[in-house]
C-alpha cells in the first residue's frame, strides 16, 4: 500500500505496524487530535513510510468475532496531513484497506469493517470507500471490500 506526496505526486510504500507502548509518549493530542493514551488497552496501529519512524496516522480497532466484524474505534492522520495543505494523501484509505484485509483473512465472505460517523461525513465515506449506512453505522462488506483491498494493494 502507498501514500502519495501531494506536492510532487510521488508514491511511497507504507508499513502499518502495532503501536509500541513507548510510542504512546509521542502521541500528543496536538499532533494526533485525540487522547490516544485512552486507547492503550486496545489494538492500535501506526502508519509509517517504509524506512521512516515518523507516524503519519493512527487507528484503533475492536475485533468482534461473533459478528465477523472489525470496528474502527478511532482513526486519525497527523496534523500536517490534514486539510488542503496535507503532505500525504491516502492515509485513511490505507488504514481502511489494511483493516479490510484483516477482516477478510479472519472471516472470509462474512467479513465486515464498520465505523460510526457524523451524518455530514457519512456521505463522503459512502462515496469514497463504497461503504453502506445502517442507522449511524457505516460498513463495508463483500463484494465492495474486495474492490477496496485490490485498489489499495495494487496501486
Amino acid at each position: 500500500m502507498k501514500v502519495i506526496d501531494t506536492v510532487i505526486g510521488e508514491k511511497h510504500l507504507v508499513d502499518i505496524l502495532p503501536v509500541d507502548m513507548v510510542d504512546f509518549k509521542t502521541l500528543t493530542k496536538d499532533r494526533y487530535f485525540f487522547d490516544w493514551n485512552l486507547e492503550k488497552k486496545q489494538e492500535v496501529y501506526k502508519l509509517l513510510i517504509k524506512g521512516s519512524k515518523d507516524i503519519l496516522g493512527l487507528v484503533s480497532i475492536e475485533k468482534i468475532p461473533q459478528e465477523w466484524r472489525i470496528h474502527i474505534r478511532l482513526l486519525t492522520v497527523s496534523k500536517e496531513n490534514k486539510g488542503s495543505e496535507k503532505k500525504y494523501d491516502r492515509i485513511v484509505g490505507c488504514f481502511i484497506a489494511f483493516i479490510a484485509k484483516m477482516a477478510i483473512r479472519e472471516y472470509g465472505e462474512l467479513a465486515c469493517v464498520s465505523l460510526r460517523s457524523k451524518s455530514e461525513i457519512a456521505q463522503h465515506y459512502m462515496d469514497k470507500y463504497a461503504m453502506r449506512l445502517t442507522g449511524m453505522t457505516l460498513s463495508i462488506e463483500v463484494p465492495e471490500i474486495i474492490g477496496l483491498i485490490n485498489f489499495y494493494d495494487n496501486d
Binding site: F33, G83, R105, E120, T134
Partner: protein, 176 residues
C-alpha cells in the same frame, strides 16, 4: 474560521467511532447485523468464491511473513481450502491438473509429499484462477511448502538433534 470548522473542511482528519455505552453498541450491532444478513443472502456464488480465494491468499501471506507451525498452517490445509473453494468435488480438480485422485487425496491427508510436478501444476492452475480475483504470486505455494518443512524440522529439534549430533564433528576449524 474556527479550528472546529477547519477540521470539518477535511472529512478525513479523523473519526471518533467509539460507542458511548454498551446499550448503544448493542442496538447498533443488532440493526447492522439484520441489514448484513439481508445483503449476505444476495451474494452470488462467484462473489463468495472470490472472497474465499482472497482469504486464502491473505492467510498464506500471513504464514509466510509470520510462520507459526500449527495444524492450520500446513501446505495440505491451504491446498484443501483452495480446492474446496472452487470445486464441488476434489476429483474434478485432480482431473483438471492431470493427477491421480488417489495421489491428490494422499497429499491432502498428509500421507504423501507433493512432487515438484504437482506443485508446478498447482502454480499454473492458481495463477489462472486468481487472475480475476486479486494479485497473486504463484511461487507462494513453494514458499508455504518450504516454510512448512522448516517449521516441522525445528519443532522436532529435540527429537532428532541428539542422534544427529553424534554423527557430526568438527576436525578443523579455520581461525580468523
Amino acid at each position: 474560521m474556527t479550528e472546529d470548522k477547519n477540521l470539518m473542511m477535511d472529512l478525513e482528519y479523523g473519526i471518533d467511532s467509539r460507542y458511548k455505552s454498551g446499550l448503544e453498541s448493542v442496538s447498533e450491532a443488532t440493526a447492522l447485523m439484520e441489514a448484513r444478513l439481508r445483503r449476505m443472502k444476495m451474494l452470488s456464488n462467484d462473489q463468495i468464491t472470490k472472497a474465499r480465494l482472497l482469504q486464502l491468499k491473505l492467510k498464506m501471506e500471513e504464514f509466510i511473513n509470520h510462520p507459526v507451525y500449527d495444524n492450520h498452517n500446513h501446505f495440505s490445509n491451504f491446498l484443501k481450502f483452495y480446492i474446496d473453494s472452487i470445486y464441488s468435488k476434489r476429483s474434478i480438480f485432480a482431473k483438471d491438473i492431470n493427477v491421480d485422485p488417489v495421489s491428490l487425496s494422499q497429499v491432502i491427508n498428509n500421507h504423501r509429499e507433493p512432487k515438484d510436478e504437482f506443485i508446478l501444476k498447482l502454480m499454473i492452475h492458481s495463477e489462472k484462477v486468481y487472475k480475476d480475483v486479486c494479485s497473486f504470486n504463484k511461487k507462494i505455494w513453494y514458499q508455504i511448502y518450504f516454510n512448512n518443512k522448516i517449521c516441522e524440522i525445528m519443532a522436532k529439534q529435540e527429537q532428532w538433534q541428539p542422534d544427529i549430533e553424534k554423527q557430526v564433528r568438527i576436525s578443523e576449524v579455520t581461525k580468523v
